[in-house]
């Protein structure tokens, strides 16, 4: 359902957003164009996954999210329709590709997930202990459904995280330091695995490299359906998975290390079209 509706949107989007030409393309067509341009081993590593993209299970997750978004819920019996993701209350088109950004009402830089949680608390009255907020990571969670719904309304638009507020720049720059900061039992930083020449692999998995903007835009295009997990996953979930491989301690949801890393990785993809929803290994 939602897929059809979104396919009708793009004409308006392309004009209003001044976005890249891919704003009226399906996610698989955006990927094809990037792959044709670069012949990247990462972008072309799974023809099976490419074939599944038109029927991406994340579309259903987004559809559920749309219903939840409009539903009056929580102690305050309110919907999320007044949530401000940075472009004004209720504006979802193109909001995600400009995140993370600074929000004056919270006094901090927030990514999509933390902003959504903020709105669920302030508008709907949920608390951190409510399952609606507490349960993360999985297609069956409210957070994942809502995030997917909001995010895919930026499909094809160019990543353009805001850098106007000093805190936005500070978080991006600290994220860069964190990306290169080695520690843990294996001396890993993110760069160990993500700054190689294109095509480098951990075992059979082809690693995306920040040296290729075309590869990197796919790498940071979350939410994505993870075929291996049979779940739609978020940016913060990917951070968690890589930290686990790195032998780092557990990271808390919505924490500033998450947001700094995501600020940096989104900035690296600046100007490239977002693939939303994506489908990954």
């Amino acid at each position: 359902m939602i897929k059809k509706a979104l396919c009708a949107l793009p004409i308006v989007l392309a004009m209003t957003a001044g976005a890249v030409a891919s704003a009226n393309q399906a996610p698989e067509d955006i990927l094809d164009a990037l792959a044709a341009k670069t012949k990247s081993p990462y972008l072309t590593q799974s023809p099976q996954n490419r074939m599944m993209m038109p029927d991406n299970p994340s579309y259903d997750v987004a559809e559920d999210g749309g219903k939840l978004f409009k539903q009056k819920r929580g102690p305050k019996n309110a919907s999320l329709e007044q949530c401000d993701f940075g472009k004004g209350p209720g504006v979802l088109k193109g909001a995600y590709v400009e995140l993370p950004r600074y929000f004056a009402d919270a006094g901090k830089v927030m990514d999509l997930e933390s902003r959504l949680v903020h709105c669920m608390k302030t508008l709907q009255g949920f608390t951190s202990d409510d399952p609606q907020i507490k349960r993360r990571h999985g297609s069956d969670t409210d957070i994942m459904k809502l995030m997917t719904y909001v995010a895919i309304q930026s499909n094809g638009m160019a990543w353009n995280p805001s850098m106007k507020h000093p805190q936005e720049k500070a978080m991006r720059d600290a994220g860069e330091v964190l990306f290169y900061r080695r520690s843990g039992s294996m001396d890993f930083n993110c760069a160990t695995c993500h700054t190689n020449d294109a095509g480098a692999r951990i075992r059979a998995s082809v690693l995306p490299t920040i040296k290729s903007k075309e590869e990197w835009t796919k790498a940071v295009s979350w939410p994505a359906h993870r075929v291996g997990h049979e779940h739609t996953r978020s940016s913060q979930h990917r951070v968690l998975e890589c930290l686990w491989q790195m032998r780092y301690p557990n990271i808390k949801p919505d924490s500033d290390v998450n947001i700094a890393l995501i600020s940096y990785w989104t900035d690296v993809a600046r100007g490239q079209p977002a693939i939303l929803p994506d489908l990954k290994r």
Binding site: P166, D173, E176, M186, P249, N250
Partner: protein, 235 residues
């Protein structure tokens, strides 16, 4: 009155110092109550990054690790890590002097087996080389009671050709056959596995011996996998 304000001033001064120094604070500093959040926009990227790691509540610093320490220890950097992180951010280039310094620090970490370097059991070495289990923590800690930690070699290297290895490091296929097993070659290989920075400053290979991931016996087994003529690596 005067006294009161001067105390207030001192407190203010120390707090702002604590904020400035927050990034460089020694491990353990998080035991005191969380100070007011500093202005991120006014901190250097390095100071903010350190603040985020140790003071922002992002990581579970108390999480128990398999080696009996806490999450905090996994995040503290030694000199090698610090130098190599800075170098990586600048594109990975290090000058000859820094490179020598790293080599020297690394050489001092290597501990050799009492009876000299010997080859162990290549079959055990093969399992170790393949296994990526061990020391992972985060949301799903590896239980070392359920199995010994592995050596991760296949994550980054092609070894025998019956399995797919990674390509972050060079191919080691035919290692012993191509290089022979002279005492110099054995020592070189032991050093690289123990601490690759002895020869390759700021290598992307983990310091598996120096970091306590592998025991001397396990290194001997992995080395047998590399050198033994019967090992699939040399077939």
């Amino acid at each position: 009155m005067f006294k009161k304000t001067s105390i207030a001033a001192v407190i203010a001064a120390t707090t702002s110092m604590a904020l400035v120094l927050g990034g460089c604070a020694a491990p353990g500093a998080d035991k005191t109550a969380a100070p007011a959040k500093p202005d991120y926009g006014k901190m250097s990227p390095q100071a903010l990054a350190e603040h985020l790691v140790f003071e922002s509540g992002s990581y579970d610093l108390q999480q128990p690790t398999q080696e009996g320490t806490t999450g905090r220890h996994r995040l503290v950097q030694d000199e090698t890590m610090k130098i190599c992180s800075e170098a990586a951010m600048k594109g990975g280039q290090i000058d000859a002097k820094t490179s020598e310094r790293i080599n020297k620090l690394a050489a001092a970490t290597v501990k050799y087996p009492e009876g000299g370097i010997k080859l162990g059991d290549w079959k055990k070495g093969r399992d170790l080389a393949w296994s990526g289990f061990g020391f992972r923590t985060a949301h799903n800690p590896d239980d070392h009671g359920k199995g010994a930690p592995g050596a991760n070699c296949y994550n980054c290297h092609q070894l025998a050709t019956d399995r797919t290895g990674g390509s972050l490091g060079p191919s080691l296929t035919g290692y012993g056959k191509l290089r022979g097993n002279s005492p110099e070659m054995l020592k070189y290989t032991y050093d690289v596995i123990y601490n690759p920075h002895v020869y390759f400053a700021c290598a992307n290979m983990p310091r598996l011996g120096a970091n306590g991931v592998l025991t001397q016996q396990q290194i001997a087994d992995v080395m047998a996998y590399l050198f033994d003529p019967a090992s699939p690596v040399n077939k």
